[in-house]
Amino acid sequence: MSLTTASRSAAGRSTTPPGGGPRRRKRPLLGTNPFGLLLSAPYLIFVLAVFAYPLVFAFWMSFHDYYFAAPGAQVDRPFVGLENFREVLADPAIIRSFGNVGTFLLINVPLTVVLSLVLATALNKAVRFRTFLRVSYYVPYVTASVAVVGVWIFLFSGNGLVNQILGPLAPEPAWLINETWAMPTIAIFVTWKGLGFFILLYLAALQNVSEELYEAAATDGAGKIRMFFSVTVPGVRPATVLVLLLSTVTGANLFTEPYLLTGGGGPNGASSSPVLMMYQRGIEQGSPDTAAAIGVILVIGVLILAFVQRKLAGGDES
């Protein structure tokens, strides 16, 4: 949606030659109120410096032999074509991290969409303890990951509370040091942590679903379940597209949780994530070019996923 707006305005600008061209009297060069441009200048400079330039820099870096040099030193950084990408794709640890994040998304994204929609629908109709209920679901979202990670390690440790309750059903070795369970445990943690925000988005979307549709459905004899699937779900479809997109983007950027919950992607790299690999390769091992290539591959992956989700969820009208 925003992409089309941006490209259209950019195209519109390029047709009028800057400055010297034939100026239409109706619209001055900088608009009727150029003061707005002045007010927005700090923000525009910020976006250019912190988003646009680094974005271009990241792409540039991924095609060059880039390394850290002493400040001010003039060094040669030759163009190496796809060499960095070849290095990334030949590294089994990095390939594994992409697989891990795939597992993560397969658990986290559907769980997030279903739970947040169901909980938001229930919360929307709840009358009693409304404030208490909302606050309880939002609180994990407003708390730092670093703070709650400590409790989760304690809860899911070998003789932690979760295993004590499960008794003989507890996995061996414990959750976070178990190759099979490490990533799913992280996915559950992230779902729990972020759910409040997505409930908030769905609650906003539910206010836009017309009450008349529910009344009409009730007249036609639809039950609660039927109403949920035939009125609520299609009614909040634009929000679903947004929730899918945002949870995929945040999921693909997983770093803090594997870094702290599983001590940097353990056991045996079973819970490493691409961003964790970017940190290790780029900053710890000093090859920012490889890290930039991982980042570019990650972003292309997210874009493809987002495109597929949009097709599937049919968000064209949003």
Partner: protein
């Protein structure tokens, strides 16, 4: 709507809420226990056995007050920049006609889906290496300085104010600067609290960026020093979990308290529209 369904819904919601809150309860209880007790009974200890030892223990290892102060400076800087510059852009986007307005609005939306992690390496090179801003509050604040969601919320807010109000002032001969100071800024006050709350969450809880660029312990925000403690030295403490949980309570406390006090302003419609545009 049947009574049975109502009760069922309330029960499910309440049980869900308790599951969501339990880790927080466990965090507080764990931080007050002398010995870690992972049994079920340990979740409901005798109040007489509770102690504050873990808090002094963690304070001896990482300077809690300094950490809180650093988090406060980092967060405060971001909030200040966001409020000052965000109000200006929000007003310009909603009420003024100027070339580039559409592009600016599209950028504010687009920026929210750009993954920060892709920018992490180039930003690190620029800020830490080129500008020499590692171990510096300015370097911490810079990438977060203006929160784009806040910009959209301000814009949304100014859109609700009738244009005639501003036009009338213009007809009366007020300059743009005067209109901004005398009309726009006083009107925006109700949106301010929402923006401050929303902006607060970001830097206060941020780990990755300050972790990358602060190596000096005396400059690290609490989230970073606690995480370093968690991954490095926890093994050497007498009651490592108790100490970690005590630090976690100190880190989570301000955000949770602020949120509960002002949860009324954390309104779904404001933030929902902020993200959707």
């Amino acid at each position: 709507m049947s009574r049975g369904q109502n009760i069922l819904r309330s029960v499910v919601l309440t049980v869900g809420a308790l599951v969501f809150l339990f880790p927080f309860y466990y965090m507080v209880i764990g931080s007050l226990q002398e010995e870690p007790d992972p049994t079920v009974a340990g979740a409901f200890p005798n109040p007489a056995n509770l102690t504050l030892d873990n808090y002094s223990d963690i304070n001896g290892r990482i300077n809690l007050l300094q950490g809180l102060l650093n988090s406060g400076i980092f967060t405060g800087g971001v909030i200040l920049c966001t409020v000052v510059f965000g109000v200006l852009v929000g007003y310009a986007l909603a009420q003024l006609q100027w070339r580039g307005r559409g592009v600016t609005f599209a950028l504010a939306l687009l920026v929210q889906v750009v993954p920060f992690q892709l920018l992490m390496i180039p930003l690190y090179v620029m800020i830490a290496r080129d500008y020499g801003l590692a171990d510096n509050y300015l370097g911490m604040i810079l990438p977060f300085a203006i929160n784009s969601t806040a910009v959209i919320i301000f814009r949304q807010y100014f859109l609700q104010i009738p244009k005639e109000l501003f036009d009338a002032a213009r007809i009366d001969g007020a300059g743009e600067l005067r209109i901004l100071r005398r009309i726009a800024l006083p009107l925006v006050r109700p949106a301010l609290l929402t923006v401050v709350l929303l902006t607060f969450i970001g830097p206060w809880n941020e780990f990755l960026w300050p972790f990358l660029i602060t190596k000096e312990a005396s400059l690290q925000p609490l989230a970073v020093s606690l995480a370093n403690y968690l991954s490095n030295v926890a093994a050497t403490a007498a009651n490592p979990f108790g100490a970690v949980l005590a630090g976690a309570c100190v880190l989570a406390g301000p955000a949770v308290i602020l949120f509960i006090l002002f949860q009324r302003h954390f309104v779904s419609n404001n933030i929902g529209s902020g993200v959707k545009g």
